[in-house]
Subunit: 337 residues, 2 copies
């Protein structure tokens, strides 16, 4: 009998729901026969959306959820009051062991709160960080934490470093990943109170390849594999990446339209430029896992299309196959003892 | 008799000192006859460097300083021990009223510490912020604070907003500048403890055109003129701007070399691309003023060349002509009473 990896997918969350989510789910099951998707949302609507597709029925099932949590809703209240929302239903499937993972492009706040409150933390994990992959000159780096826990304490950052290191090594496949803490200078005595307290703790971690501070300027160059910071700073980094990239590309395109000569050139460089821009787009690298929970929760970008949804679902397979949560449990317990 | 605006210039600080600093100083006095530069550094060396240039002697004078503070030196100790360094000598000229402003491309730390300790704060100013202009899609924004005061308090951020608003209005010439606080979401209830405390205080300021929170993604789009944040976050924003820009341009250039077709196109778009990249380079916009001091201190980028040095010196003229410090004094005193 086939052992499926069961991924619950929020069909109602994100800018392109449900169409692109449904397409991504179908693409995922067609590409990997060990995946079973539980597509969560309004049953009739989803049945309608699935009609054009052909796929093995045992790999994709609809799970009814009548409500939707909107992005603007205060997360805590929404999780409490909308018991039949796609996010709450999906999280509960993970909690009850009926799904191994949950993927959502919906409200970040609701996913973060729901992960903590409904799925629950692994024993010993103080705060579950959100950890997206960001593109660099040489590949990708893991930015951890990026939105889950503002005003974190040094012990949280140390756990982020550990969990991030395990993820990069076993899911992304980087041997002995270089871990650095975001700082405003390269020297050990630089930084704010949080960084100054955290730095010596990271230095003591024998299980980490801690390489010291990283200045924001060096992050895009790929000088570290795991970029540790508290959530406010991480959120600024992730969003500024996106903003600077978008505006710069826009300005370059505009600049190319400034003369006949450059217009002609633009036609010729267009395919190469498109490829480059794509390789520097954070949304190309699947969703951001919320680490340290009893099951895997993956938040994909609100603007996710089918491809990112598919990638996020496949990411859950690697996570499961590599027994990441067992590795986190073992690591956190060892350090506690 | 001509009333000069007297700008002390650190001839020994920065990657291209003294050559580019000397050239920038000469260019500045040649372009504006109301400027008098006090070029600070090792006299014999500077006399030698000035030989190739012709300029009105009464507009440029060398002031001897035998020592240089290196970037790697701990700032507080360096300021204390190197009494005859170009930074200490320059700051003292401002303190003693022998210069109106001081420009340095040298050690950021030493400039920040020296500004506070040697020049001193305007009465009522709690912390002097460093405030560079950053390029946006539509022009420039002032990023305040960007490195001077980590772990700032809400009252500091309110003063940053006030001083930044005065600077943008009277030096950069933006009427009724839009002031925003960097946050991780647009809603008022979002943020870390510092932002949540500061937000209502900014809302109460009748002298400010406070437009609320700004997410990092929207900063490069130019949605606000004055971007308020504490120094750690500001430093991350400034340096990531630089890093993402550099890597993206590099990737685009690399991408264009990937085929014969795009190589040909690259030749045609090269001038337009160069222009665009330049317009998005923070160092094009002169130095960063350290606001709230009894005289003006301007920190220019360590990699500054003659053009940026010249721009920074000219910036001091506008600052002086617009009586920015009188306006800051008046504003801070009014709010205190």
């Amino acid at each position: 009998m086939q052992e499926y990896i069961r991924v619950a997918v929020d069909a109602m969350g994100g800018d392109h729901a449900p169409d692109e989510i449904v397409k991504g789910a179908v693409d995922a099951v067609l590409s990997r026969k060990e995946i079973r998707v539980l597509l969560i949302g309004q049953k009739e609507l989803l049945e309608e959306k699935l009609k054009p597709y052909t796929f093995p029925g045992e790999q994709l099932e609809i799970v009814q959820a009548s409500q939707v949590i909107e992005t603007a809703e205060p997360p805590v209240a929404a999780i409490r009051s909308k018991k039949d929302s796609s996010i709450v239903v999906g999280m509960k499937l993970v909690k009850n062991g009926e799904a191994d993972a949950f993927v959502s492009a919906g409200s970040s706040g609701a996913v973060l709160v729901g992960g903590q409150v409904l799925v629950g933390r692994i024993k010993g994990v103080e705060r579950p960080p959100l950890a997206p992959l960001i593109p660099t000159k040489t590949g990708v780096s893991l930015l951890i934490d990026c939105g889950a826990n503002v005003d974190a304490r040094p012990s949280h950052l140390v756990q982020f470093a550990r969990m991030g290191s395990i993820y990069m090594e076993h899911v992304v496949g980087i041997k002995n990943p270089r871990v650095a803490i975001v700082n405003i200078g390269a020297e050990e005595e630089k930084g704010n109170a949080l960084v100054k307290e955290t730095f010596p703790l990271l230095k003591e971690c024998r299980d980490l390849n801690f390489i010291g501070s990283i200045e924001a300027r060096d992050i895009p160059h790929g000088y570290a594999d795991v970029i540790v910071c508290e959530a406010f700073v991480g959120n600024v980094i992730l969003k500024l990446y996106e903003g600077v990239g978008a505006v710069l590309i826009d300005k370059i395109k505009g600049g190319m339209m400034s003369s006949l000569r450059s217009k002609l050139g633009a036609l010729l460089v267009k395919p190469a430029l498109k490829q480059t821009v794509k390789s520097f787009d954070a949304s190309e690298y699947g969703g951001a896992p919320l680490l340290g929970l009893k099951g895997l929760v993956v938040k994909t970008h609100g603007s996710s299309k089918a491809k990112e949804v598919k990638n996020s679902i496949i990411q859950c397979v690697t996570f499961q196959e590599q027994h990441i949560n067992d590795k986190i449990k073992e690591n956190i317990l060892r350090e506690d003892g």
